[in-house]
């Protein structure tokens, strides 16, 4: 009988981790659809970023209420997962509280898990209230609808469910530990600062029933964790994993420095070289990929931008600080990130369905997801980049798409075209002659 449950547990475990592994592989493949950029320089600064921003959550606490609650949930989640190790060993080998012999330390550990579980329950409840009763504006913007909106609540319910089960499991265990003369394998171990108050609920039940309940809680808890782990892939909650690589690979240059398009540099040099033969065709190297300026779809973005899209937590801090969004324009940097992820997933499904190759589907990120109107509303002020708690840059995607609109499609708004013509002809965005540049010197 116990044997059977060990095997069953092993199977559940393999399915849980196996499916998780497959989905992680898919994410990595999809991120690699992006073009290559090198983000391995300056490892020291990168590790520091990751330690400060992902691990230390330095940017989260800029909004203190959400920040501190988030740290509780996060620390609680990480630490309670240590408990997972014990659960897995117990499950595989039919042991019970395998770590109990470490004595006092074990008591301290279990005790602190319990306190954290309670704190997490409180924090998650406050989050739920903020979302569903206080209705914080950034959670009700029109760009957040359908699944993304319920996703956040599902996660909160999940956490409540898991924490409650953890406490119930401990409470029933404690009840059985206290049966005079000892009951079955329930040794006296652990300390239960929280669940001791729940344990009396089991008084009056038969020992066998409580044991059955205990086993039920245990199973639900572990299966719940596995399901939750696999839910990540479908959810904005993926950030609990990806925040780490995302902050590591984030841009380290000053925010105002936009990347230099090397492909353009080559052509401009050729154009400006007085010795170049103007009628010669541009040299085409053998394996030159047909170059496209800017981005109209996810394959034109770089892999860091795609990683950004998977990492986005949909918190909307970017959107709530965006000047364009605040003044009622269509642009929402959060939507830029969500659209990008949706499109990556769509392309990924296309590849899966077509045995590993992408069959054009007459859709692109530009137009089908993101409209030029959104793109042109951006002032490139970097407020979204500054605000993002996990160092995402919605701006870099906006800029790459504008580049496509301007350089490939010549589809800039009229006044922008006029501005560019002026620069070309007069060296200034206005219609003044370059010869008049110093006139101010003699004017009154």
């Amino acid at each position: 009988m116990t044997y059977l449950s060990n095997v069953l547990f092993a199977i559940v475990l393999i399915i849980g981790f196996g499916y998780f592994y497959l989905n992680i592989k898919k994410i990595i493949r999809n991120i690699n659809l992006g073009i290559a950029v090198n983000r391995t320089d300056n490892a020291k600064a990168r590790w520091r970023n990751m330690a400060m921003i992902a691990l230390g959550q330095s940017k989260m606490v800029k909004r203190p209420v959400a920040g501190i609650l988030h740290i509780i949930v996060y620390v609680g989640f990480i630490i309670i997962n240590i408990e997972l190790l014990e659960i897995i060993i117990d499950g595989l080998f039919g042991t019970h509280r395998i770590f109990a012999p470490i004595g006092v330390i074990y008591d301290v550990l279990i005790g602190s898990f319990e306190i954290l579980a309670l704190l997490v329950l409180v924090a998650v409840s406050v989050f739920w209230i903020r979302r569903n009763i206080v209705k914080l504006k950034r959670f009700f913007n029109p760009d957040l609808k359908g699944f993304p909106k319920s996703d956040a609540n599902y996660i909160l319910y999940f956490e409540m469910f898991l924490m409650t089960l953890f406490l119930l499991m401990n409470a029933s265990d404690l009840h059985l530990q206290n049966i005079p003369g000892g009951f079955s394998h329930f040794i006296k171990a652990g300390s239960f600062p929280v669940s001791q108050f729940i344990a009396p609920a089991f008084n009056g039940m038969s020992n066998e029933l409580v044991m059955l309940l205990n086993e039920g809680f245990w199973w639900l808890h572990i299966v719940g964790i596995l399901v939750f782990m696999n839910y990540l892939y479908f959810s904005k909650h993926l950030h609990i994993l990806l925040a780490f690589p995302n902050t590591y690979f984030a841009n380290l240059n000053p925010q105002g420095q936009f990347d230099n398009l090397a492909s353009v540099t080559a052509e401009v040099k050729l154009m400006m070289d007085p010795n170049a033969d103007p009628f010669a065709a541009a040299p085409v190297s053998e394996n030159a990929t047909p170059s496209k300026f800017g981005a109209s779809d996810i394959q034109d973005l770089n892999w860091v931008q795609l990683l950004n899209a998977y990492t986005c937590t949909e918190c909307g801090r970017c959107t709530s600080s965006c000047p364009a969004n605040q003044t009622g324009k269509l642009l929402s940097p959060r939507k830029i990130m969500m659209d990008t992820r949706d499109r990556i997933e769509e392309v990924g499904r296309n590849i899966d369905a077509n045995k590993g190759v992408f069959i054009p589907d007459n859709k692109t990120l530009l137009n089908d997801y993101i409209t030029p109107e959104e793109l042109w509303a951006c002032t490139s002020c970097n407020a979204c980049v500054e605000e993002c708690p996990v160092n995402i840059s919605p701006l870099s995607i906006i800029m790459d798409m504008r580049r496509y609109l301007v350089m490939e499609k010549s589809a800039a708004p009229m006044p922008i075209n006029a501005m560019m013509t002026n620069i070309e002809n007069n060296g200034a965005p206005w219609q003044y002659s370059q010869q008049d540049r110093l006139n101010w010197k003699n004017e009154n």
Binding site: Q326, K329, M399, V406, I416, K441
Partner: protein
């Protein structure tokens, strides 16, 4: 007063075999925009007063390409950049000062990859260094006790982390520096960046410059200070929109210093 302006060009300097301490990059707004020209002149007055050896490119200067780059036209940007770099390198420019955060950002961050390596400073940083080294002193308490709100230009602040120099200068005026609810890294854009200056805004329910001016007016300022010709225009329009041009002035830091000195 303008007849007293001394504005040598790099070409004139070269003819005399001289290399100025610093090249003043005037920028398109500073050269052509009526409001921004006043900022340019104020800055030159201070340079003259402090006996700084400087020169401008004059008719050899061209747009840095910033608005083209932000609009997405990398071709035009790089052509502008390479032409400017050729000129700058021909004069062996080492240090550049500019009163425009957009020129500042582009010259400082985006020219190096195309072969232009210079020490680039914003005029507020340069003015502060003049004060710190004692080459410039401010007397006269014209702004004493006045409430001055400083608006952080995105391309100076968030983009390049220059927050303190302009604030230090305001405090040197014996003025009361007041902060808006959104300032420094959390500052709100004036609405002109990203080539927005040159087009109409997308449909919305408010103009960004009005939103930002409201932030500023909340601090009950006598003066709204900026360190960017574009911010200056946007906020001036915002103040007009709120019909407050009678009691609130929008001024550049250089103008504040020049006025305090009563040059």
């Amino acid at each position: 007063m303008s007849e007293s302006l001394i504005v040598p060009t790099m070409a004139e300097m070269l003819a005399q075999g001289k290399q100025p301490e610093v090249l003043f990059w005037v920028g398109c707004a500073g050269s052509f925009d009526d409001r921004a020209k006043k900022i340019t002149k104020a800055f030159v007055q201070i340079l003259n007063r402090a006996n700084v050896s400087f020169a401008v490119l004059g008719t050899e200067e061209s747009c840095t390409g910033d608005p083209a780059k932000r609009a997405g036209n990398e071709f035009l940007f790089q052509m502008q950049a390479m032409m400017n770099i050729e000129v700058l390198n021909a004069y062996e420019a080492k240090k550049i000062v500019t009163a425009c955060p957009h020129c500042f950002n582009t010259l400082k961050n985006e020219y190096p990859e195309l072969g232009g390596h210079y020490e680039v400073v914003h005029h507020t940083e340069f003015l502060k260094s003049l004060l710190d080294s004692g080459r410039l002193t401010i007397e006269g308490g014209q702004f004493k006790g006045k409430r001055i709100a400083f608006h952080d230009p995105c391309y100076l602040g968030r983009a390049n982390n220059v927050y303190e120099a302009p604030r230090d200068l305001i405090q040197k005026l014996d003025a009361e520096l007041v902060e808006m609810k959104r300032s420094k890294a959390n500052g709100l854009c004036c609405g002109a960046g990203g080539a927005q200056m040159f087009k109409d805004a997308e449909p919305g329910n408010k103009e960004i410059n009005v939103e930002r001016t409201e932030d500023a007016l909340e601090t009950k300022p006598h003066i709204i200070a900026a360190g960017c010709p574009f911010c200056n225009t946007m906020l001036t329009d915002g103040v007009k929109n709120k019909e407050r041009e009678g009691d609130v002035k929008v001024m550049d830091i250089a103008e504040l210093i020049a006025n305090a000195q009563d040059i």
